[in-house]
Symmetry: C2
Subunit: 90 residues, 2 copies
Amino acid sequence: MSENVVYVGNKSPMHYVLAVMIQFNRGSDKVVLKARGRAISRAVDVAEIVKNQFLPGQVESSVTIGTEEVGEGDQKRNVSTIEIVLTKKE
Amino acid sequence: MSENVVYVGNKSPMHYVLAVMIQFNRGSDKVVLKARGRAISRAVDVAEIVKNQFLPGQVESSVTIGTEEVGEGDQKRNVSTIEIVLTKKE
């Protein structure tokens, strides 16, 4: 268990920063932030706050973006996704 | 001149998709999307629309995130940034 996922939604960025820090403090060397749609900007904020304020110089991030289909039938639409992998440097 | 920057702001995603497509159609092999704050989600939408709907299978994206300081004096604050490099596959 060295990889953990934090789903970023509509709460304040600090809520998710805390979730990330709990994972790192438990000994994880990798935490993955996932978000969709409007929450994508917030996920980037969370990653930057962890990198710059909580673990400066200790964490690297790698980012991938994608698309998911949500809804059914006539309600189907595409939503953008982001995945930010935060890795502790050795 | 093979690299061009499109700054993503508050207009509709299609506005920026068009700007990207104009660059590619002029012969650019690389277009860079840049956005800050709330517009980050929109920049991801733009990249995904270009990749999936306008140039399916022909474009790769690589993403970096960062932080910039904006404002002066007491108004100084940090804002997250994203840079999405869209590259045409050979």
